[in-house]
Subunit: 529 residues, 2 copies
């Protein structure tokens, strides 16, 4: 639990160039970033209540004339526990000043109740891939403007070469010449086809960039196609979208640094790469943070890269560590140097240097060989993961074939078998059976019809998912439990469950509760709620 | 209509500090911002197709050694006509470089089909207020941390003093000590109460800052409360949220510059205030753009302010001009100077200097007097505006709305109506009724659920179609007649009709025959057979 006395701490590096005292500068920030009124308008009680920023320490930076390191604390609840307002307090108005650099951010554990960070993190992504003990390889589908068939071919070659991750170039949006849905469906399908041959799992991260009202549609589409992670530009679509994607969709998130450079190209004003691409992106929920490594086409220094990787990976209580992903013109011959620099918990992104080679799969193969030479690869079966994959492609379908009539016979239908509701270890439920009636036997409907039955005293798993439910009562009576209400369901009552609405079916009665449940055929996997 | 040959133009001011030629720098940008691959990987056809940035002009800047003004054009459809991808092409990756300043942006009229800009603009806001011929006055509710009752009192005083606009301080988020909903409802109510007394309309712009999944809820709440406009920080929550709010909610948008300063504190790298807070915010749909005027607490120069105001107000085809809103420590005694600088089409924002006075309503009154002295005020009845603030609520289907539970009551469901099966002249049928249950009321399911009932002796049309049917018996008994066979259907029997299979439902019995019929939401029209 957080309380009104909880505070967070920001380190500002201030260069004084106007002859005023450092104390005056620090006090200006304390007021500007909170109450933003002339001192005489601040109520006396605001001081006691701790509502104004408070200078915790102030020391000169060694060997840098007129440069000071100032630590200011703010009440945590001033952020409303939300990222937009956290950014606002951190640097909103003072971004419009000069000579102020955010060089550190620390917060109490309680903030993680609201901003729980990466959903997968380094260990979760490794389990999803089943790859341990070595650095991971990522490649990029590009250039923008190719026919989709060429993207499919490139993705296939990347996967055949053994890449761990394949991402879209950040310039692949929803352009008319390669629309998002067709592009994502076909690339995902191509990569899954290779996965089925190799028995390994190469993950595809399509770029989702919205606009605002297209973003959810793109995410839902990607999830239904079986995508397990996406790439976003937090500064293009808003930092808090990262948290939303991680929490609501259960997808892994790769953060791209587009437009972030204005924050740190000037080393005396802005937000350091370590704080922005490291601490903040990790807190938002990025599992992977991409940035230009020193010595490529961009200007980050080796020291900045090291601090950034540290901000992503260092232990922070229950906050998952995230992968640094150095990029920006990296080449195959730099692999040993990069692994020497970062150690094994890193994702190396090499795009152009692979695409320039005639045999793409072969080039990826050499990339993988180098990673294996620099580590101790251990493989495990790829984990199905907590959520995110599509349900309609998972596993073998139930036995049976399309039937033109399924005879009702005491709440079973012809030869449709009563199956387990879910695997015992997969979810919390009791006394539920499932019968797949139509949709999985060769029909081409956009929906599946199932019959579920819950024994007296039983319940289904409490869950949510992007796909909707339509439920029709068939036998007995039961309860549809949503976040804040319980809806009784009787025979022939028709209930609707909206996207991402938490729900559970319960049978508090003393006879079986049976219901049809109609769902989209292509759908995302339920997430436990 | 836009075509693949439409292009937009970006002016980059480039400072060369590495001894390479300006041509090399310009070509780097053309590639970096589009295909982002080594030159040898770019397909030959990309040049002809115009998919790569194209240098349109390049000239040295007078009296600035090694500084060049370079105009680069890009194909418009590379943006996918969306703001996140427009930002990406404009400055995404090269933000991570140095010495590149975006100083201009021009686009063809066709872009306005997708990004239509301000919903109200200067003239629309003036009609909404009924105030013409003078500058407008805006004040700010603060400081953050006061009890809501104090905010209500301040808002009341502002409105009584005659302010045109009242905005929240940008630090008023959804904090536990003054939650969004209570704060907005009570301030709006207080201002409306004063409006009812004065017969004028003072508009309240609450700050909405989300997070991502709270934003729509906050907007819907504000609109329901009668709010006509909101303030957002586009860099806090994503630039495209401005367009979404303007288009979907019909609300006026006031853009706050929080966190934008990193883009233009360095005059040799970033995006100028005129392009970011002017051209881009206006294109996104901001009716009002707030920024710190020269000579306050921040560092914009008078020239930068003038260029910014010009970018907001200059004629641009059918794009509405937007209000500049200079702020940042302005005082009442600067009003004449500000109006002299900007002319009458400006909103002056004065917060702290009014709050510091004992009689707040009186201070606002003096603010208004000065504005009237500097202009020719003309009043008109405030207009209800082009879009009702609550228009979004009328979006549900004509026949009803999505319901989480449809109660079964004698073969009708809640308020779902029994409709004609088909038009009489459309097909051959007898005694059939239809009830649409789910799928047409705002759900996003891939299927529709309907209930049909056939009177004794009746039949449905004999037809075929590509889409499949799943039918479940609900009431009585009937026959499913296919090309060569008749299949009896009883209660809870589940029947399947394959693509293009001829079929008809008949009721040869003496009681009604009712059944659910599930079909794909997107489906072809039946053909008579």
């Amino acid at each position: 639990m957080t309380t009104a006395s909880d505070r967070f701490w920001v380190d500002y590096r201030i260069t004084v160039r106007d002859g005023r005292s450092i104390e005056d500068h620090a006090r200006d920030i304390c007021i500007e970033q909170t109450v933003e009124v002339p001192p005489e308008v601040i109520p006396d009680t605001h001081g006691e209540l701790g509502l104004i920023g408070r200078v915790e320490s102030c020391r000169p930076v060694v060997d840098r004339a007129n440069v000071w390191q100032v630590r200011i604390s703010y009440r945590l609840d001033v952020t409303g526990f939300s990222l937009p307002q956290l950014l606002n307090v951190l640097f909103g108005n003072i971004s419009l000043k000069n000579n102020i650099l955010v060089s550190g951010l620390q917060y109490p554990e309680g903030l993680l109740e609201h901003l729980p960070g990466p959903r997968f993190g380094i260990s979760g992504l490794r389990r999803l891939l089943g790859v341990h003990g070595r650095a991971l390889a990522c490649t990029a589908i590009k250039p923008m403007g190719l026919p989709i068939g060429d993207f499919v071919r490139i993705a296939t070659e990347f996967a055949r070469g053994g890449a761990d991750l394949i991402k879209d170039d950040h310039g692949l949006a929803d352009q008319p010449f390669h629309p998002f849905e067709e592009r994502v469906a076909r690339c995902q399908e191509a990569i899954e086809r290779v996965n089925a041959q190799t028995g390994r799992r190469c993950l595809y991260f399509p770029m989702v960039s919205g606009g605002y009202d297209r973003l959810e549609k793109q995410l839902a589409f990607a999830a239904r196609e079986g995508v397990r992670g996406v790439m976003v530009g937090p500064m293009l679509i808003g930092l808090d979208s990262v948290r939303h994607i991680a929490r609501e969709y259960g997808l892994a998130v790769m953060a791209h640094p587009a437009l972030t450079g204005t924050c740190f190209h000037d080393r005396s004003h802005g937000i350091t790469p370590a704080v922005l691409l490291g601490t903040l992106f990790r807190l938002a929920g990025a599992d992977i943070s991409i940035y230009p490594h020193a010595g490529g086409r961009f200007h980050l220094t080796a020291e900045e890269c090291r601090e950034l990787a540290d901000a992503l990976r260092r232990p922070e209580g229950r906050l998952q560590p995230a992968f640094p992903c150095p990029a920006g013109g990296m080449t195959l011959d730099r692999v040993p140097e990069l692994i020497d620099f970062y150690g094994p918990d890193v994702i190396l992104l090499i795009g152009g240097d692979i695409l320039r080679q005639r045999d793409i799969a072969g080039a990826v193969g050499r990339f993988m060989d180098r990673l294996r030479q620099c580590g101790q690869e251990e493989l495990s079966p790829p984990e199905s993961g907590p959520a995110g994959a599509c349900e309609w492609r998972s596993g073998a379908g139930p036995a049976g074939r399309v039937e033109e009539i399924l005879r009702f016979a005491g709440y079973t239908w012809s030869d449709r078998r009563r199956q387990a509701y879910k695997a015992e270890d997969e979810a919390d439920f009791k006394g539920v059976s499932r019968q797949e009636l139509t949709g999985k036997f060769g029909e081409r409907t956009a929906f599946d019809l199932r019959y579920f039955e819950i024994e007296p005293g039983g319940w289904s798993s409490r869950e949510k998912h992007v796909h909707e439910h339509v439920i029709i009562g068939v036998r007995g009576r039961g309860l549809l439990c949503k976040q804040t209400k319980e809806i009784p369901i009787g025979i022939n009552d028709v209930a609707y469950i909206a996207p991402l609405e938490v729900h559970q079916l319960r049978n508090p009665g003393d006879e079986p509760f049976g219901f049809y449940c109609i769902v989209d055929h292509k759908r995302d996997r339920p997430q436990p709620a």
